[in-house]
């Protein structure tokens, strides 16, 4: 406590012809239990009412406030200033389209992603409102939940070398999403169906294995493990696809 914090913040309003990209400096006195959520709101309310940034739940649950904090993608609501140096540099997440200042358009990107991986249960069954629910093993339900915990904050995408280089790369988030459906017995898609979605350089084979996705994931989802599993599975599927029919069996 007692420190004066300096914030270097990226500024640009694409809707204002008079605006050009630059950095602005703001200073604040640090208070007890200060987070970037508290700091950014104070800057906007007390110093510069035009500062654009996103918060929603401010509790690490919704993923709205991802940004690059001293060079590293992370959730601003989570970030306690006492764990930071006195000089803090804030940039918007890369890859996503800039709305203004620290605010980016994650919605469009993620919508594209889940349309591409068809992020829903594929089944030919019909829901019967009179029937008892289909049973599921609780351990399996908990496994699915483990992968379902992703909050689509975009940190893993912002930290991904491949995503920065090629626009069509699906990223760890999409591969994790697919892994969730592969695990789910309600989804009747076959291995080949999954392969058609991610068995390319846009998907599983585009990953350079830099591991940054997992490093920055605020929910500590084992992204690399899913990626590894998926890659092995898809590599086997690829081999199976070229084998003569009589040699195919379940690997």
């Amino acid at each position: 406590m007692g420190r004066t914090l300096t914030f270097n913040i990226f500024r640009y309003n694409p809707s204002d012809p008079a605006s050009s990209p630059h950095m602005d400096k703001f200073t604040l006195d640090e208070t007890e239990r200060m987070t970037l959520f508290i700091a950014l709101n104070r800057i906007r309310e007390e110093i510069d009412p035009t500062l654009m940034f996103d918060f929603c739940c401010r509790a690490g649950i919704c993923g709205a406030c991802a940004m690059v904090i001293n060079g590293r993608p992370g959730l601003a609501c989570h970030t306690k200033t006492k764990e930071m140096p006195a000089e803090i540099t804030l940039m918007p997440l890369p890859v996503f389209k800039l709305v203004g200042d620290l605010s980016v358009d994650t919605g469009t990107w993620f919508r594209g992603m889940y349309q591409k991986v068809e992020s829903w249960v594929h089944t030919d069954k019909k829901f019967d409102p009179k029937a008892q629910e289909e049973r599921m093993d609780n351990a399996l339900a908990e496994q699915i939940y483990e992968l379902d915990r992703c909050i689509e904050c975009g940190c893993c995408v912002g930290a991904c070398g491949t995503a920065l280089m090629r626009e069509d790369f699906l990223g760890a988030v999409a591969l994790n999403r697919l892994a969730r459906f592969i695990l789910d017995p309600r989804d009747q898609r076959t291995e080949k169906d999954y392969f058609d979605i991610v068995g390319t350089d846009e998907g599983i084979f585009g990953c350079m294995g830099l591991l940054a996705c997992e490093d920055v994931c605020p929910k500590q989802i084992p992204l690399q493990e899913q990626l590894g599993k998926l890659r092995r599975k898809m590599a086997l599927a690829a081999v199976k696809n070229i084998l003569p029919k009589f040699l195919k069996k379940d690997f």
Partner: protein, 607 residues
């Protein structure tokens, strides 16, 4: 003028909005959802606990039925609810939960054999029947006779929202995010859509629809200390109130949650207490059994919140730089339980407090949490006052919660109401044609353009919208919080009227271009103060205590005079809402009686 047309327009893409959208899309109608954030960031995602539905699969839920759920809901509402709606809700809830399972929600399931659970901080074993293996499990929540709350660890809202958003994508629902509805288009008789502002570019668009649904969630952000997401500022309710003809119901019924963490007011789930968490005072003494011997920490949340406040008023709170608080103790649940079943709680404590709940106590205080009030609708979800306008979820006063809703009933309401009201909207869409009057569209657009131009030019003044908001915070926290009385409420109403005058004189310091956040605030502040006045004025006039509405000067629940629902409308240019009243319920399946907890006298209906 940019115009987009659709059959159903859902303002809000949380659980209620998307569930309604899916029902309409499933029946072949075109649907657009507008959302101020990407749909999956809706506040629904933050609900950790679960959804109540009488499935009765678990050992502690055995013997449960919609009838028992109904009785709990009516009691919880302190007989303020519409019993016909409560009945619709409890009967449909099991179907809605099974449908969510069918669409992909990984509900926790029954594990057969002896299981260890906690009640009142003590472990006990229960035997889960082998024949129930793999069915949807349920956990304990406050105020219920049976364990009835379906859950997915502590990410229920998140999982259900992602599943529904997946389903919406599959059904071709168009979700347009970073867009905010700022006014309804109507002619005083029929709603024809909304004028919306793009929060990426600032551009205004007229969205025209045969049916418009307000599903914008709660308005907790009129309070400074709230568990609500920062987007829960009542935007949808403001557009309804601004019509002058659509009433808001029971706005004075505001629920406080017992366990907001100090100082950030982030909620830790009631599941903590359901699983056996206890509340301690500054002497680390467990005080709740002294006040509520039977239910202790598991009495309904209004009761627990008031008992906590009462206890702190006796000087037994823990002093801190942020005011007094109490302790929540979950240490005895053990590391394995806390790190898995209560993981979100664990994360919240570690990330925002630097507290490890396995070894340390969690500082908590009662914090604004849920708005029972909202756009008054009939049992079909149709708003009073305008044809073609509907509402569902927390933004609605449908009204199964009355003056206090039970934990797990609001999250369940979103999908259950979405299913029921979605069906009714489908009937409406099939049965009628809406005539869109171009003059109404043009008038609404012109009015909003003029408002924005005036704010940018500081035509009405240059009050700072944030300063005005802070004045509102001070006033309503003090005057219309957890305990209320005539004197403080009168002061609060007078202050808020003065603040309303200031809100009408706000002007921008910036140029208002693009996604300008100052303009977003400036466009909303007058409406927020009006909502605050609906709460405070309604609370002043309601001279009784019912559910979450507690008058120190009128401690009795007065069924003789107040078995009613408040309806607040706002006439153009007025400084106060107009209050009218209607009977709380037309159907009495269960006559008014004692809730069985919370104490307090009742003045009977014919007393």
């Amino acid at each position: 003028m940019k115009i987009i047309q659709t059959d159903l327009l859902c303002v809000g893409a949380g659980l209620a909005g998307e569930r309604v959208a899916i029902e309409a899309a499933d029946n072949g109608f075109s649907v657009i959802c507008l959302s101020i954030v990407p749909a999956r960031r809706s506040h629904s995602s933050a609900a950790q606990g679960g959804m109540q539905a009488a499935l009765g699969n678990s050992a502690m839920g055995e013997g449960d039925s919609p009838d028992v759920h109904f009785a709990d809901t009516v009691k919880g509402s302190d007989w303020g609810c519409d019993q016909e709606v409560a009945r619709l809700f409890v009967d449909a809830a099991p179907i809605a939960m099974r449908q969510m399972a069918f669409w992909g929600v990984p509900w926790n399931r029954v594990v057969p054999g002896e299981q260890t659970y906690y009640k009142g901080g003590k472990p006990f074993t229960a035997f889960e029947k082998p024949e129930n293996e793999g069915l949807i499990h349920s956990r304990n929540f406050g105020g219920t006779a049976k364990w009835r709350t379906c859950y997915t660890s502590d990410g229920t809202g998140h999982c259900v929202l992602y599943t529904l958003d997946n389903r919406a994508a599959q059904m071709g629902v168009s979700v347009i995010d970073k867009v905010e509805a700022i006014a309804l288009i109507h002619d005083g008789d029929t709603c024809m859509g909304v004028i919306a502002r793009c929060l990426k570019t600032g551009e205004l668009t007229a969205y025209l629809a045969k049916a418009t649904l307000i599903a914008t969630g709660g308005f907790g952000r009129i309070y400074r200390e709230s568990t609500n997401a920062v987007i829960c500022d009542g935007g949808g309710l403001i557009t309804a109130l601004d019509t002058g003809v659509v009433p808001l119901g029971n706005m004075e019924a505001v629920q406080f949650h017992p366990t907001g963490i100090v100082p950030t007011d982030i909620l830790v789930t009631e599941g903590c207490r359901g699983d056996g968490g206890t509340l301690l005072d500054k002497n680390e003494y467990r005080f709740m059994p002294d006040y509520e011997p039977d239910k202790a920490e598991l009495a309904s949340r209004d009761v627990v919140s008031r008992r906590m406040t009462e206890h702190m008023r006796k000087g037994l709170g823990v002093p801190s730089p942020y005011g007094d608080h109490l302790w929540l103790d979950i240490r005895h649940l053990g590391e394995a339980h806390i790190r898995t079943k209560l993981r979100e709680v664990d994360e919240i404590c570690q990330s925002f407090l630097g507290v490890d709940p396995v070894y340390q106590l969690i500082p908590v205080r009662p914090t604004q949490h849920y708005s029972m009030g909202g756009v008054r609708t009939n049992k079909d979800g149709a708003a009073y006052g305008l044809k073609g306008l509907f509402s569902a979820g927390e933004s609605a006063c449908w009204d199964m919660h009355g003056f206090n809703r039970l934990g797990g009933n609001s999250l369940a309401e979103t999908v259950v109401a979405g299913m029921i009201i979605g069906g009714k909207i489908v009937e409406f869409l099939k049965g009628s044609e809406t005539v869109i009057k171009t003059a109404s569209v043009r008038d609404a657009m012109d009015k909003q353009n003029a408002r924005i131009a005036d704010l940018v030019a500081c035509k009405n003044g240059s009050e700072n919208p944030y300063t005005v908001r802070n004045a509102m915070f001070d006033s309503i926290m003090k005057g219309a919080g957890i305990f209320r009385n005539g004197k403080d409420l009168e002061t609060c109403v007078a202050e808020l009227q003065e603040i309303l005058g200031r809100a009408r004189r706000v002007g921008l310091r910036s140029n208002g271009k693009g996604a300008n956040p100052e303009l977003t605030m400036a466009l909303k502040i007058e409406g927020m103060v009006k909502l605050a006045l609906c709460v405070a004025y309604g609370a002043l006039k309601r001279t009784e205590s019912r559910g979450a509405h507690t008058r120190e000067d009128f401690p009795e629940r007065n069924d003789r005079d107040w078995l009613t629902r408040t309806l607040a409308t706002w006439a153009d240019g007025a400084d106060l809402p107009t209050l009218n009243y209607e009977p709380a319920t037309h159907v009495f399946e269960m006559p008014p009686g004692d809730r069985g907890y919370g104490g307090g006298k009742i003045i009977p209906m014919n007393g």
